[in-house]
């Protein structure tokens, strides 16, 4: 039985991963999956509508799930289609997250009115939108760093409403019931209409009704063009610039000049018509035709866009997170019962979770055409990936489940951090000019992030040492020594990587800005990690600390690293300040406090530790102080 457990674990994990890789299915007759693969250019990147739907939902309400009034769960793309084609329905979905009590009071809403006590629909917000706008205008001039939580909440909600408006104007005019019909009529009358308008301007006899229709339609096109940043219409056939995508409103305005309604804009009006009138056959047929047409011109780009849809559906990082979560408990239990069987199972789960995360990171690299770390979100992915990779090596060498526990805990928490960082929008961003250098992104950023990974890992191993030692009887001498060796080795690794990474950053700075070192907060943060690791090594070599001191210092490394990673970005100065979040500050403070508590526990006399109540088990001084630094004069 026990021998079967690891095999069973492997089969379960592989089965779980395989189940996430199935292609997404249409929930009803409409081919919404096909629609989700249609391309759109947003924030400089061509991406599937699926990504727009998912990142919009994360931004508006912190999760991808939307509940229909009848209790059904909508796919993100179904929600998006309702927003863009049937906004009167979408306005009733409760997708705007509001948690600040004063903002709720602004709308005269109570938490109970919202879904999950925090999500509200546009219809609920509608009566007080003007007041929100006023509050946002009051808060806007205040510098971001000194805004009150209320002002930040107001600005965030207002930004979300603007985002929603942009979506609504991306394809069709949200105020017209039958946009397709109007466009077809417009197509027939456009030359006569333009002539009538010209005649009116020249004060000549004209068809007043036609002029009115033309003017109204033209105004709607202008509103559409100005209210969106989503470029949904592909470049014209004779256009050489592949990024010259247009907003639907802008493309429709061109009709007055060309006399022909843009075919893609017409197609989207057709989608709206089919969706509103519940005609799945027309909808699906139109997707087929539109897609074939797009494929003729944009096949290579569309391949990536379709792959991204599959990547979104598979959600590799959530899969990986689940596996890490399970592995963590299995690994902990392996210290209590069945060390061999459970230990091996945990190891396998961690390994598979790591492979899934690796595949996810690789997919992102391919989609973006960039090295793995390009923003704060991807740094979280990579810090976790690097630390788990190191743990797998440790576990392979030591086989005592310590590596698995550390790996699953760090893997899980970094993916959780990444999830929260993804709430600010699409995580595949275009690189600002100053950072646009694949060479330096691939060297400096990777190496310095690996340094973060290692420093965190050393700190986490120290937590295992202190928790097991102080609260359980499971820290015997062999385990304690093994942990000490692991921490020492990882600190060496961390020193090397954080040092080399920091230096490479200096060289990049010298190449780009003419100074090797500028005392910029992020640079200082990286330097602090290097210096701290150097302190640990020197204190250990000098015999100033023993095993427990090593653990406490390594724990403090967690604080130093978390500060360099996130704290420096919160200062809002310097060339590196590219990420700023408010809730993150609370999380960071809590983390720092928790680490200080652990250090406090680590400082309690050993006789109070459960593992060492029996005095004979107190670990001896480290077996060897590095002789090379022992003073020559003392010999």
């Amino acid at each position: 039985m026990k021998k079967l457990v690891p095999l069973l674990a492997l089969v379960l994990a592989v089965g779980f991963v395989a189940s996430t890789l199935r292609p997404p299915k249409n929930p009803a007759a409409f081919d919404v999956v096909g629609f989700s693969k249609l391309p759109v250019l947003v924030n400089g990147r061509l991406k599937p509508l699926d990504t727009v739907a998912r990142s919009s939902l994360l931004q508006l309400q912190g999760r991808q799930r939307v509940e229909h009034a009848d209790g059904r769960t909508l796919l993100p793309i179904e929600w998006l289609i309702d927003v863009v084609f049937r906004s009167e329905v979408a306005d009733g979905y409760r997708t705007f997250e509001i948690v600040h009590p004063d903002v709720l009071a602004l709308f005269a809403l109570k938490a109970e009115d919202g879904e999950g006590e925090k999500r509200f629909s546009l219809q609920q917000l509608q009566p007080k939108i003007a007041e929100l706008q006023r509050q946002a205008q009051l808060a806007q001039p205040v510098e971001a760093a000194v805004r009150t939580p209320f002002q930040r909440a107001v600005i965030q909600l207002y930004g979300n409403l603007v985002h929603y408006q942009r979506l609504r104007h991306a394809f069709v005019s949200p105020t017209r019931q039958d946009f397709l019909g109007e466009l077809l009529k417009f197509q027939d009358n456009v030359s006569a209409g333009v002539a009538a308008v010209r005649a009116k301007m020249a004060n000549q006899p004209h068809d007043e009704a036609l002029v009115k229709t033309m003017t109204e339609l033209g105004n709607d096109f202008v509103v559409m063009a100005e209210s969106t940043t989503f470029l949904t219409i592909p470049p014209d056939a004779n256009e050489t610039d592949p990024t010259a995508w247009k907003a639907a409103g802008a493309a429709l305005l061109e009709t007055f000049r060309t006399g022909r309604v843009n075919a893609s804009a017409l197609a989207y009006a057709g989608f709206a018509h089919a969706w509103r009138n519940n005609q799945p056959e027309q909808f699906n047929k139109l997707i087929e035709l539109f897609r074939t047409d797009l494929d003729k011109r944009f096949a290579p780009q569309l391949e990536k866009v379709s792959a991204e849809t599959r990547f979104n559906a598979a959600q590799p990082f959530y899969t990986s997170m689940t596996l890490y979560g399970v592995a963590f408990f299995v690994a902990i239990f392996s210290w209590l019962v069945w060390p061999q069987a459970l230990g091996q199972s945990a190891f396998r789960w961690v390994a598979i979770a790591w492979v899934v995360a690796t595949a996810g990171i690789a997919a992102r690299m391919w989609l973006e055409g960039r090295p793995p770390v390009t923003n704060l979100y991807s740094s979280a992915l990579f810090v976790g990936w690097g630390a788990v990779g190191l743990c797998l090596i440790l576990e392979y060498i030591f086989r005592n489940a310590i590596g698995s526990v550390a790996a699953s805990a760090i893997g899980f928490s970094t993916l959780l951090i990444a999830h929260h960082l993804s709430l600010s929008g699409d995580t595949l961003e275009m690189m600002r000019a100053v950072l646009d250098s694949n060479f330096w992104l691939a060297t400096h950023v990777i190496v310095v992030t690996a340094g973060y990974s290692a420093t965190f890992l050393a700190g986490f191993l120290a937590i295992i040492y202190i928790v097991r030692g102080a609260f359980t009887r499971s820290l015997d001498k062999a385990t304690a020594d093994a942990l000490a060796r692991m921490v020492y080795g990882i600190v060496c690794f961390a020193t090397l990587f954080s040092f080399v990474g920091t230096i490479l950053g200096g060289i990049w700075a010298d190449q780009s800005w003419g100074r090797f070192w500028g005392w910029d907060p992020k640079e200082n943060g990286a330097l602090l990690i290097v210096v701290w690791n150097a302190i640990i090594l020197h204190a250990r070599w000098g015999g100033m600390i023993k095993q427990r001191g090593l653990m406490n210092l390594a724990l403090f490394g967690n604080i130093v690293t978390s500060w360099s990673w996130f704290g420096t970005n919160m200062l809002g100065v310097g060339l590196h300040s590219y990420g700023f979040t408010d809730a993150a500050f609370v999380v960071l403070s809590t983390f720092v406090a928790s680490q200080l508590v652990l250090i406090g526990i680590g400082c309690i006399p050993l006789t109070w530790w459960r593992s060492f109540k029996d005095r004979s088990r107190i670990p001896a001084a480290p077996e060897h102080v590095e002789e090379e630094v022992a003073p020559a004069s003392s010999r």
Binding site: G489, N524, V531
Partner: protein, 391 residues
């Protein structure tokens, strides 16, 4: 060796001192980083790193509260060198540590030299207008230019520090004394409806002839703002005063022009200039954004580089991560003006010790690799030796 001398030596070579200094350096760096929110990067460097002590001002009395960068760095340097002289025995096993520490010594020295020698200027180029000087980011100077000779200007530049002191300045090239009646390190201005200030000095004018009046303002430390010092300057010749002028370091102001003893002069407070033996001309500045966004994709400046003797006359392209290195200077694409697409702003840096960090870091990286490599192989070797006995 006496006991005292031995103790003295032991203190400087001890590993404890190293650790203490490293901890102090962490506290210093952390405090400096936090303080950047108030002071900005440049002032923080002066206050925390390029100093022996961090000073707090209790009233007017500066009180040293913490060792500064030079102090900690200097002691660390002494500690390192001393330790290597007295404590280390040469052996191949320690080659890694030796190399790492030698690299660190070089790195610390390099940072010191950079602090002493690096010059950091800015160069704003307008399309089609040749320029042969760069301007300081912070320092200003009072420039009195003899423009009598149409071919050549004779410039006397007086640093703002001298103006601030209020002492009269007598320069051998000038037939008059320069006296700063008042000086303010920063100011704000408004349009004036008269020609002279309340103290009777001439007010400066902008291009269209309108005059500006200045009042002093608190010094700014923000990174994206610059102080505009202003002064009231009086020139006193052999026969008494030549006049009194308000000068301010604002680029829109037109220099005053006056005649004295048959020669024509201009006088203005301006950003401190560093003249170059060559000229740069902006041919074209490009600034691309990603489609449908305001995210900058790249900046680049196409520039013509010429020397007066005609030996150099070529076009160069400066863009992000690709500076021009010429005549011991490096020109980086630093900024642009959002409202004016025909302007580029370059950063001009002279750093004679720029190569040191590269060498130092190569040494340290190699040293760490060797050192930790020895550890790692030792560890693996030991495990290999242990394993069979377990089986």
């Amino acid at each position: 060796m006496t006991e005292l001398a031995r103790q003295f030596r032991d203190f400087f070579v001890s590993l404890k001192l190293t650790v203490v200094l490293l901890v102090l350096s962490m506290i210093l760096i952390f405090a400096a980083t936090i303080d950047q929110v108030n002071l900005g990067i440049w002032a923080v460097q002066e206050k925390y790193f390029r100093t022996f002590f961090v000073l707090w001002h209790a009233g007017d009395v500066p009180v040293p509260v913490f060792p500064g960068g030079y102090f900690i760095g200097g002691l660390l340097l002494i500690n390192l060198v001393a330790a290597h002289l007295y404590r280390f025995k040469r052996s191949w096993r320690k080659a890694g540590i030796e190399l790492t520490h030698a690299g660190l010594i070089l790195l610390l020295l390099g940072e010191l030299f950079t602090g002493l020698w690096q010059e950091d200027f800015s160069m704003r180029l307008e399309q089609g207008k040749p320029k042969n000087y760069s301007e300081s980011f912070r320092a200003n100077e009072l420039a009195i230019v003899d423009t009598t000779d149409p071919k050549e200007d004779a410039v006397v530049a007086i640093p703002e520090k001298l103006l601030a002191s209020g002492e009269p300045v007598q320069h051998p090239q000038l037939p008059f004394r320069v006296v700063a009646k008042s000086f303010a390190p920063n100011s704000t201005f408004q349009l004036a409806d008269r020609e002279t200030s309340s103290t009777g000095a001439m007010l400066p004018a902008i291009d269209d002839g309108r005059r500006l009046d200045f009042v002093s303002a608190p010094v700014t430390y923000k990174q994206d703002e610059r102080n505009i010092p202003y002064a009231q300057v009086e020139l006193i010749g052999a026969e008494g005063s030549l006049g009194s002028w308000i000068v301010a370091a604002h680029p829109a102001l037109v220099p005053f022009r006056f005649e004295h003893a048959g020669r024509t002069y201009t006088i203005a407070l301006r950003f401190e200039r560093a003249y170059k033996p060559f000229t740069l001309t902006l041919l074209k500045f490009s600034h691309d954004r990603y489609a449908g966004t305001e995210i900058p994709k790249n900046f680049s400046s196409n520039i013509r580089l010429q020397t007066p003797d005609g030996t150099e006359d070529r076009e160069v392209l400066i863009y992000m991560n690709n500076p021009l290195r010429y005549a011991g200077l490096t020109f980086y694409q630093a900024s642009f003006e959002p409202d004016n697409p025909n302007v580029t702003i370059l950063q001009v840096v002279r750093n004679p010790s720029w190569l040191i960090p590269y060498i130092a870091c190569s040494m340290m990286t190699l040293g760490l690799l060797v050192q930790f490599g020895i550890h790692l192989f030792g560890f693996i070797g030991k495990r290999r030796a242990v394993r069979p006995s377990l089986a």
